[in-house]
């Protein structure tokens, strides 16, 4: 996408009749800012290791009505047991394939903005935030009222399909009222090989609210996925995030997590698997603003072939955030000599009475462990697969919902079967 491509698509966006006029000025403002800055380059510290040529060197067009399915879509191939599924297909909400979870308000399109009186959150952490505001197409908001406990996980299933190179820009809001709790899964799949998704998710947790957020990026290994997640936590709220990513030629996760109330807790975890020439990048910022909060970041990557990855974790402990308890861990397993990982856990501490730990390690499979297993009769492939599985177990165990964990483990095991080499 060069600038003129973006301009053409933006004109189409603005001229669509089915978007409210109220949103146009917001789009225009964001887009003109984006034009000033352009796509990030490797000269920027935050993008040093991530090459965006799979976006800049291709052209994508926005998804039109005709990109919605014109017949039945078989979603059984995307099955996860025991969840309520809402389907978004090439950026279009498909009501007929969706079940509406009880106990929550599901707002589609611009309804959320109506509800919040157009009070619009437009962050500018990166040009992709601006791009999301300019092009947001599939809006989906989940609002849980106070004291409501939503038992069944709610899954947004994003299907990318077809041979058209589409640019899809979801914008999701998750608002949990006081003392409510829910599990939210974003599940990105589909057969499209050329697809650029720039999604933004805004999570707000009121006091004592609790959200389990699971993100699955298992779409084709040739897609481009930019993810911007912003999490705002009030007192004693609890946020857990787990990302399983094995899809995407390019993946970039940006999480900005603000702990704004005392006693809030967040655990941000990710398991990334890459092969071929995939490049999957995870950037996480945990921002401790108040006392007595705790947080952890725990990311692991398994890299095969020429794939590469980035972990950039930053934990900020502001002046007022005394008694912070935080940890960062990044461990990476290189299954090939040509795989490359950049790991950069960082602490930025301005308070004095805090407990912060961080660590990082990157290496090949443990030769001693491999010999140990083989000396007990396990063939070299099984032994290696077992070691990789052992490496990931700690993270897989964090997925509490059985159906989702079973799905992820299946996916993980088939990845292992294809990517373990003698």
């Amino acid at each position: 996408m060069n600038i003129s491509d973006f301009n053409i698509e933006f004109d189409k966006m603005i001229n669509r009749d089915y978007f409210s006029d109220k949103v146009h000025p917001l789009r225009e403002k964001a887009f003109s800012k984006f034009l000033e800055i352009g796509l990030p380059t490797k000269k920027l510290e935050d993008w040093r290791f991530t090459n965006l040529s799979s976006i800049s060197n291709s052209s994508f067009r926005i998804s039109e009505k005709q990109d919605a399915p014109n017949g039945d879509v078989d979603i059984s191939q995307y099955q996860i047991d025991d969840v309520e599924t809402i389907v978004i297909y090439n950026g279009h909400y498909i009501e007929t394939l969706s079940s509406i979870p009880s106990g929550i308000q599901l707002l589609t399109g611009l309804d959320y903005l109506e509800k919040t009186n157009w009070e619009f959150n437009s962050p500018e952490h990166s040009p992709f935030d601006l791009l999301n505001t300019a092009f947001m197409d599939s809006g989906m908001s989940i609002v849980v009222d106070q004291n409501v406990i939503v038992e069944k996980p709610i899954r947004l299933l994003f299907i990318s399909s077809g041979s058209e190179s589409l640019m899809v820009t979801p914008r999701i809001h998750i608002d949990l009222g006081e003392s409510s709790s829910a599990t939210f899964i974003e599940d990105h799949r589909g057969d499209s090989n050329s697809f650029f998704q720039n999604g933004s998710t805004f999570v707000t947790l009121k006091q004592n609210a609790q959200l389990d957020h699971i993100r699955i990026q298992s779409n084709s290994v040739t897609t481009a996925n930019i993810v911007n997640i912003q999490v705002e936590q009030n007192a004693n709220s609890r946020y857990t995030f787990f990302q399983f990513a094995d899809g995407g030629q390019l993946g970039r996760l940006n999480i900005y997590n603000e702990l704004k109330g005392e006693g809030a807790n967040s655990d941000i975890n990710g398991l990334t698997l890459s092969n071929d020439s995939q490049h999957l990048d995870n950037h996480v910022i945990t921002d401790h603003q108040m006392p007595h909060c705790s947080s952890s970041q725990n990311f692991k990557t398994v890299l095969q072939d020429n794939s590469s990855g980035v972990f950039n974790g930053r934990t900020i402990v502001r002046k007022d955030a005394q008694k912070t308890d935080s940890s960062q861990s990044n461990k990476n397993l290189l299954l090939s000599k040509s795989a490359l990982m950049n790991s950069n856990p960082q602490l930025e501490i301005y308070a004095d009475d805090v407990k912060c730990a961080h660590g990082s390690s990157t290496g090949a499979l443990d030769k001693d462990a491999l010999f140990y297993l083989r000396s007990r009769g396990l063939d070299v492939l099984s032994a290696k697969a077992l070691l990789v599985r052992g490496f990931a177990t700690e993270l897989l165990d964090l997925v509490k919902h059985d159906g989702t964990r079973d799905f992820i483990i299946d996916r993980f095991d088939s990845w292992l079967a294809e990517n373990t080499t003698a």
């Binding site: 462990a369 297993l373 083989r374 009769g377 396990l378 077992l386 070691l387």
Partner: protein, 246 residues
Amino acid sequence: MLDIKNLHAGVDGKEILKGLNLSINPGEMHAIMGRNGSGKSTLANVITGREDYTVSKGDILFAGDSILDWSPEARSLAGIFMSFQYPVVIPGVNNTYFLKAALNAKRKHAGKKGLDAAGFLKLIKEKLIEVSMDPKYLQRAVNDGFSGGEKKRNEILQMLTLEPTLAILDETDSGLDIDALKIVADGVNRYRNADRSFLVITHYQRLLKYIEPDFVHVLIDGQIVKSGGKELALELEEKGYNWLES
């Protein structure tokens, strides 16, 4: 059963075993003693097929076949087992899962059907009793957080489960308390029969009181310089190794 002929082996270009000969017949218990660094573990690792070591000369025959080109797993499946001097910790790999996978690999190799979870549990419970191990160790990751003695018992548990015909015990007695030593020795003695052979590496005569060897060998600088009966161990305990050096 095991025939080692003029074995020269080393690591990173450094020769450690320098012409070692050893024959073990079915049912025999052999002990190897020798100073730190004399090459005992190297021998055990070379027999079990560790790829870091290169054999430059000589041969190892197991049941008549040269096994030098065999992978570690092929040797294991053929019936060779080593209790590691330093058992490896494998985080995240469940002990039960590992043992079951190993046993079923072995059963499959022998043309038998793999055991299901229930069948395996029944079998392993009996073996646990033999080494006085608490079943809770099965739920942990392999050797993760095990004490030195617990790791050694876990090795013997694996031996009893996999039923090798040649068991190499590399300092299995080191780190065991007196009771544990007795338990391990009893386990080994019960396991002994006319078809099973042992190569026990130890520094202490103490173990050989419980596990009576048929032969004792002294390894110095990569060669067996003296062999004898169990009384040789007593002599070594008394005199040390100096008198054997040329």
